[in-house]
């Protein structure tokens, strides 16, 4: 099995602190995110898929409502 490359996490954390770009919580959030990225498949765990499913469900519902309306109009014709 291929081992993952080593990411210089501490250096990056120091870099963020040094630049004072973010507060402690935001830095933690970024570092956690990077750790998360190096360990798992982000597409699934970031609930992007769930979001996509939710949109598709809502859009599907809107489309179905329109379809029903269209069918009613056709029937009345």
């Amino acid at each position: 099995m291929r081992q993952e490359s080593i990411f210089p996490l501490q250096d990056f954390k120091a870099f963020l602190k040094e630049r004072k770009l973010l507060d402690e919580n935001a830095i933690k959030e970024v570092i956690d995110f990077i750790v998360f990225l190096t360990q798992s498949n982000p597409d699934k765990t970031l609930s992007l898929e769930e979001l996509r499913k939710e949109y598709e469900r809502l859009l599907g519902s809107a489309q179905r409502t329109l379809d029903r309306l269209r069918i009613r109009i056709e029937e009345l014709r």
Binding site: M1, R2, Q3, E4, S5, I6, F7, P8, D11, F12, F15, L16, L21, V30, F33, I34, L37, T38, P42, D43, L46, L48, L51, R52, E54, Y55, L58, L59, S61, A62, Q63, T65, L66, L69, R70, R72, I73, L76, R77
Partner: protein
């Protein structure tokens, strides 16, 4: 793993059946520089590849990377099934082994084992090493692409994993953007669809409204008053009442139409009947006309019928007469034939008797003739003579036999006496006592022997005579016997003849009987001849009469045929008359037919003509009536159709009005529900969700930005050191007169090779010549190796295949004298070359500890033969 600090140097390599190497090759490796020199296609590159392959396998390099470097089909030698590479290496003074092997057809499967610290070298380094280790000519070529340079230098500067994360964040951002764009597009589509539906509904609403306006009841009533020929005031002014009124009118017109239809049907039925009668009469008339035509010609012929019947009677009488004559003749012929047969039979019996008599005569004559020939008396005398002589001879024979016996006895006695005397040697006779007895006895014996011999000869002669006489006697006895038999036969024949003559009442004398019979037979033959002549004349007459009869019969047949055909014609006329209704046609005479019935039929024909013209007039009047009815029916139908159409229009108008009201209600209700209700809610929710994605993307963008900045700084920190080492390495290889300085510059996450001209201007490396660019790449590769391997793990190896291809003589010397000593202080180098010039230079300027090999020969079966040249 980073804490493990080891110094690794390869010590020895054993290769078996790897690529161009057939069999085993074992090489000791120098910790500094190992050079393998040999001509083309002798396995130099295979040795470098074997080392590289074994290192890659044992470092756990990704198989895709291995696949990228090696061709799986070439790893195992063509003439072998397994390839095997073992490397002995030293780490911190300890000796270890690693090996890797594979077999043909296993598709990238290999076995490996490492019992030392090499397997602990982190993959990142090894992946880096994979590149650097493999600095062969072909891999230098890979520097030509900017991407390859980036890959190499990212590893050198330790930002590869950082850039991978940046790349992932960028991909995530891009995915989120795709999702966002997709949703926006979908929302837009839904809105577009909703809008379209809304406008379509509105359009339809307007259209229906306009249609309702077009319903003009007054116009309809005006049209109806014209059609019904009634004043407008009399028609109902409300749509529902007008509809009922129209229904009533339609029903009354329908009834009238039904009546007309019935009348028309009746008229049509009558017309069909008239036409059928007309057709029937017409057929009848045609039949009568046809019959009259036929009757005229046929009746003329039938008149001749009586004449033919008279002729037939005459012919029949004549036939009867002829038949009588023929019967008489036949009887006469029969009688005559019987007489003739009787006469023949009698004659034949008489002829048999005559033949028998003649046979008797012939037999008697032949017996008498034979008797005469045998001479009876002479034979009898001779026989008695022969018998007498035989008796005499037998007597003599007896006497001679006795004499012979006596002589034999005497001789026997003498012989015994002589033998005795001889034995005793006596002279005197023992019997008689004679002194000379023995001699006399011998003389006597001789005399007796002579006499005995004569007697025997005489006896033999006599026996021969007796035998002859016996034969003669036998012959004579046979003849006498034969004569006796003939006599008996003759007597028998005489008796038989007498009996036969008596039986047949013939004269007793044979000759007389024969003569009388012959005469009688002659008479009978003459009678038969006359009877035959008479019979022939009767037969001729019968034949003549038969011919006459057949002629008359033929005539009769012709007459009969004629009569039959005339009878058929008569029958035809009678049948036709019966068909025309004259039921007595079969019983009345032909004259009555001609004189009474035919004129009657002619009258009937005239009547039929008249009936037909009347029927034709009736048909015309009926057709006229039907046409008038049809015209009226069509007028009414048209009127009814118009009214029905108007009624339908009115009904449609009423329905449309109702529908429009329903539609109006629905549109108002549904559109409000859809727009204000469900869709708007959903769209609001979706837009709310979209803001989450935007936030997420903003976060990703921020992290991406920080990471990029961090990576750039990371590279900036290391690039100075790299460029400084590059400058040093370049100084050993590169001495361009114009572009003196070569360095690497980071640019938007990538790297750029730059050169400075003598005026200090920064230029792109593209200004360099091809060979110069190759030298620059070799320098960058060597620098990368040195810098990249200056980590915690002291493992560095540089495999260089044919470096001379980029170098002229000056640079070859520089390569050997400057570059190699400089680089091999930092890492272990293995070079393969075929260049004589370079080889000589290397031999001259060999660094300490270097090992040089020369491949002397190579064969496809045994692989390379390698000689160690130095030390």
């Amino acid at each position: 793993m980073k804490d493990v600090k080891v110094m690794i140097r390869l010590k020895r390599v054993k290769i078996r059946n790897f690529m161009g190497i057939r069999g085993d090759v074992e090489l000791e490796l120098s910790p500094t520089l190992t050079v393998i020199y040999g001509p083309n296609w002798t396995g130099k590159t295979s040795i470098l590849n074997a080392i590289q392959w074994c290192l890659c396998c044992n470092s756990g390099t990704d198989w895709r990377t291995i696949m990228r470097i090696f061709d799986e089909n070439k790893i195992v030698n063509e003439r072998a099934n397994r390839a095997f590479v073992t490397i002995e290496y030293e780490a911190n003074g300890e000796k270890y082994f690693m090996w890797a092997r594979t077999k043909r057809g296993t598709e990238w499967a290999f076995e490996k084992e490492d019992n030392g610290p090499f397997k602990n070298i982190p993959i990142g380094r090894v992946e880096f090493s994979d590149f650097i280790i493999g600095i062969t000519h072909s891999q230098i070529e890979r520097f030509l692409s900017e991407e390859e340079l980036k890959g190499c230098l990212d590893l050198v500067f330790g930002v590869k994993s950082l850039k991978e994360i940046i790349e992932r964040i960028r991909e995530l951002n891009s995915n989120a953007l795709d999702v966002e764009e997709h949703i926006v597009r979908e929302i837009f589509k839904v809105k577009e669809r909703l809008e379209k539906l809304y406008f379509e509904a509105l359009e339809e609403y307007e259209e229906r409204r306009n249609n309702i306006k077009n319903i003009d009841l007054e116009h309809l009533i005006r049209e109806l008053s014209d059609i019904l020929d009634k004043p407008i005031d009399e028609l109902p002014q409300e749509s529902n009442k007008l509809l009922l009124y129209l229904k009533e009118i339609c029903t009354s017109i329908d009834d009238e139409l039904k009546k007309i239809r019935d009348r028309k049907e009746r008229a049509e039925k009558e017309l069909r009947e008239i036409i059928s009668t007309y057709e029937e009469r017409k057929r009848e008339l045609e039949e009568i006309e046809k019959f009259l035509e036929e009757a005229e010609s046929k009746l003329k012929n039938i008149e001749e019928l009586q004449k033919f019947e008279n002729t037939r009677e005459k012919l029949e009488n004549r036939i009867k007469r002829l038949q009588t004559i023929l019967a008489e003749l036949d009887e006469k012929k029969f009688k005559l034939s019987l007489e003739l047969d009787e006469s023949r039979r009698k004659r034949s019996s008489k002829e048999i008797i005559l033949r028998r008599l003649k046979d008797f005569r012939e037999n008697i004559i032949s017996i008498n003739k034979k008797l005469l020939e045998l001479n009876e008396r002479q034979r009898s005398q001779r026989l008695s003579e022969v018998l007498k002589r035989l008796e005499e001879y037998n007597e003599s024979k007896k006497k001679l036999g006795e004499k012979s016996e006596n002589l034999s006895e005497e001789l026997d006695l003498l012989q015994k006496a002589i033998s005795y005397m001889k034995r005793r040697n006596l002279r005197e006779c023992v019997i008689c006592g004679n002194r000379e007895g023995r001699i006399r006895a011998e003389q006597r014996k001789k005399e007796l022997e002579m006499t005995h011999k004569e007697v025997i000869e005489e006896l033999n002669k006599l026996e021969l005579e007796i035998e002859k006489l016996n034969e003669e006697r036998k012959e004579l006895e046979d003849k006498v016997k034969e004569i006796k038999e003939l006599r008996n036969r003759l007597e028998e024949l005489g008796n038989m003849l007498n009996n036969f003559l008596r039986e047949k009442n013939l004269p007793i004398d044979l000759e007389q009987a024969i003569n009388s019979l012959a005469f009688e037979l002659d008479q009978m033959r003459k009678n038969e001849e006359s009877m035959k002549e008479e019979l022939q004349s009767i037969e001729a007459e019968i034949k003549h009469k038969n011919e006459e009869l057949s002629k008359i019969l033929n005539n009769l047949r012709e007459v009969n045929e004629k009569i039959n055909s005339l009878r058929q014609e008569e029958n035809y006329i009678r049948r036709k008359l019966a068909e025309l209704g004259y039921s007595n046609a079969w019983s009345i005479s032909l004259n009555d037919i001609e004189n009474k019935i035919i004129p009657e039929i002619e009258k009937r024909r005239e009547e039929l003509d008249r009936t037909l013209s009347k029927l034709s007039e009736e048909t015309k009047s009926k057709e006229k009536e039907i046409n008038e009815l049809m015209k009226r029916y069509n007028d009414l139908s048209r009127k009814l159709d118009v009214l029905r159409k108007k009624k339908r229009t009115l009904e449609n108008n009423i329905r449309e009005l109702q529908e429009f009201r329903n539609w109006q209600e629905f549109i108002e209700k549904e559109l409000e529900n859809v727009f204000v209700g469900a869709i708007e809610d959903i769209l609001e929710k979706i837009e709310d969700k979209l803001s989450h994605i935007e936030k997420y993307r903003a976060f990703l963008n921020r992290v991406h930005e920080y990471l990029c900045e961090f990576a750039e700084e990371y590279v900036r920190e290391n690039i100075e050191e790299f460029n400084s080492m590059l400058k040093e390495v370049c100084s050993t290889l590169y001495d361009h007169p114009e572009f003196r300085e070569v360095y690497i510059k980071p640019k938007e996450g990538r790297y750029k090779i730059c050169v400075k001209d003598s005026l200090g201007n920064e230029l792109d490396e593209r200004v360099l010549s091809t060979s110069c660019r190759d030298i620059v790449r070799l320098a960058i590769a060597a620098t990368s190796s040195i810098i990249g391997l200056r980590g915690e793990e002291e493992f560095s190896i540089l495999l260089i295949d044919e470096p001379q291809s980029h170098l002229d003589s000056t640079h070859k010397e520089k390569f050997v004298t400057d570059f190699l000593p400089k680089v091999c202080r930092e890492c272990q180098i293995i070079i393969a070359t075929m260049d004589d010039e370079l080889w000589k230079l290397i031999q001259e300027h060999t660094p300490n500890n270097a090992i040089l090999y020369k491949i002397e020969e190579w064969s496809i079966d045994e692989g390379p033969k390698i000689k160690r040249v130095k030390p």
